[in-house]
């Protein structure tokens, strides 16, 4: 059963009105003990599976799928673009999230406030709006300056993906920074004091104890955050990046079919999400991160 684990973001919010904490749901809610895993072959499951198989059969039989071979290659390219967007923005976003989260816990006010404002603003406005602001708003301002138009950056700024990349990275950084803030704050004082007692300098202590322990604590939430990020990627199709969503939009327009391409798209995303969740499960089993 993947249901409980796909994405628990809303359930993990803390009392501050929407910000996240991690690994603490057990403190708010007693741990949910799932009923004993039931076999897949119970009678009612067999019945449900039969109904499901019938539905799939109907979908294949009564709907039009003849366009599929023609677009197969483009779909694969689209999926690749989606995954590229997902992983590049998640990794770069995470690298930004660490310092942004840290300065909110320990930094001077001069840094903590801008970081706090950054998180509030990004998390308080829709990603779609941020994307269009960057692409159409900022893009049209860039175009007014001949210096930018003649610079070496222009060939990149002309394209759409840098804006999509920037918007998704910023968004991931803001959400994950909130997680990292909680993670840094949640590392037990005693461990830091012990490090100091060993005579570690501030930087050594940060590098050897604080950062690794915080990342350790934040890892379980990465799963949910990455799934959310995957679900945000189709928005870049609205600024002409050709991801899998854009390919399917194209199929819809070419074939005038309403449901079939969208159903296929939903199926593709379900598979991608399932793959992500499975991959994270695999890694989580290898790194014991569950309880810090």
């Amino acid at each position: 059963m993947t249901g409980g684990g796909v994405d628990l973001k809303p359930a993990q919010a803390d009392a501050e009105g929407g910000s996240l904490i991690l690994g603490d749901e057990a403190l708010i809610l007693p741990a949910y003990v799932p009923p004993k895993a039931r076999s897949l072959l119970e009678p009612h499951r067999l019945f449900l599976m039969a109904v499901f198989a019938l539905l799939v059969f109907c979908a294949i039989w009564f709907m039009r799928w003849d366009w599929l071979p023609k677009y197969a290659l483009r779909l694969v390219a689209g999926i690749w673009q989606t995954l590229l967007m997902l992983f590049s923005t998640a990794i770069v976003g995470f690298l930004f999230a660490v310092p942004i989260g840290l300065v909110q816990v320990t930094g001077p006010r001069l840094l903590a406030w801008p970081a706090k404002i950054f998180c509030t603003v990004i998390r308080g406005t829709p990603l779609l709006l941020q994307l269009w602001l960057l692409y159409y708003g900022l893009g049209s301002i860039f175009a007014q300056y001949p210096e930018i138009r003649s610079s070496f950056l222009w060939p990149y700024l002309r394209q759409a993906w840098p804006y999509g990349f920037a918007a998704l990275t910023i968004s991931f950084a803001a959400y994950e920074a909130e997680v990292m803030r909680g993670a840094f704050a949640g590392v037990p004082r005693g461990e830091l004091e012990a490090a100091r007692a060993f005579g570690m300098g501030r930087f050594t202590m940060f590098r050897r104890i604080w950062l690794p322990r915080a990342i350790h604590r934040a890892l379980p939430t990465l799963n949910g955050e990455t799934v959310l990020q995957l679900k945000s990627t189709p928005l870049v199709a609205t600024i002409t990046v050709i991801d899998v969503y854009a390919v399917v939009s194209r199929i819809r327009q070419d074939t005038y079919l309403t449901y079939e391409p969208l159903l296929l798209l939903a199926l593709i995303y379900i598979c991608l999400t399932g793959g992500l969740v499975a991959a994270f499960r695999f890694f989580e089993r290898r790194i014991p991160t569950r309880r810090a």
Partner: protein, 243 residues
């Protein structure tokens, strides 16, 4: 376009300024968010109770619903449900040989947001219901209350403090998800902004203005949520070490 100053008058509340149109868009967004959120809560309560106390088939169906909705991007769900929802209602009515109804864009939008929100609130509420100590529910039953009375008088009020943080987060998500309806052409804040920006070519001005409006909604919501949480937590022992 030369800088931001000359375009600021475009935001005035009366035409030729677009401020009024933006406010109307904001109202439409809020209608969608409130409607979708409440519908999501109704679905969530029903599905959470179904998941916890329903028969095996109901449980599995609820599990499928929450898993599928949370695995597919909201944008794709919105496209599917926006067309399929209306279509399904009308075909059902046709089967019953009843005349087709017109489903307004607002109703379709609320339905879409509600179905998406429902899956998330199911999980939030299920966790919160589980946090109510079984003794309270058993006591209510011992008093001879019907299951519905138990739900209304004991389970729902007792789980609220546990559910509030999650529900607050969901409200934030609901307000931001309404922006996705711009993609199907529903005239809420983001689409109105896009139209205003396209007509006047003052892209930066309008997108920033819309951003300020969304941010204002978030900040005001945060204040209201803080007040509600303080009220709801009165008299309850501190939950765990952190809160």
């Amino acid at each position: 376009m030369d800088g931001l100053f000359p375009t600021l008058q475009l935001l005035s509340l009366t035409p030729p300024g677009w401020g009024g149109a933006l406010i109307a868009g904001l109202v439409a967004s809020l209608e969608l968010a409130v409607g979708g959120y409440v519908l999501g809560l109704v679905i969530g309560i029903a599905a959470a109770f179904g998941k916890l106390y329903g028969g095996p088939i109901l449980r599995d169906l609820m599990e499928i619903y929450t898993t599928l909705v949370r695995a597919v991007p909201e944008l794709v769900l919105i496209l599917l449900l926006y067309y399929a929802g209306t279509d399904a209602v009308n075909q059902l009515l046709a089967l019953l040989s009843m005349p087709a109804v017109d489903i307004s864009g607002l109703a379709a939008g609320i339905f879409v947001i509600g179905v998406v929100q429902g899956a998330y609130s199911t999980e939030v509420l299920r966790g919160a219901i589980l946090a109510v100590s079984p003794g309270q529910i058993e006591a209510a039953r011992a008093y001879g209350m019907s299951p519905f009375q138990v739900m209304r008088r004991v389970t729902l009020p007792a789980m609220l403090p546990h559910a509030l943080p999650g529900l607050a987060n969901l409200w934030m998500i609901a307000t931001k998800d309404t922006a996705l309806l711009a993609v199907v052409g529903f005239s809420e804040l983001t689409l109105t902004t896009r139209q205003a920006a396209g007509t006047t070519k003052a892209y930066m001005t309008f997108y920033l203005a819309a951003g300020v409006l969304y941010l204002a909604v978030t900040l005001v919501s945060n204040l209201v949520i803080a007040v509600i949480e303080r009220r709801a937590k009165r008299g309850t022992p501190p939950l765990g070490a952190t809160s």
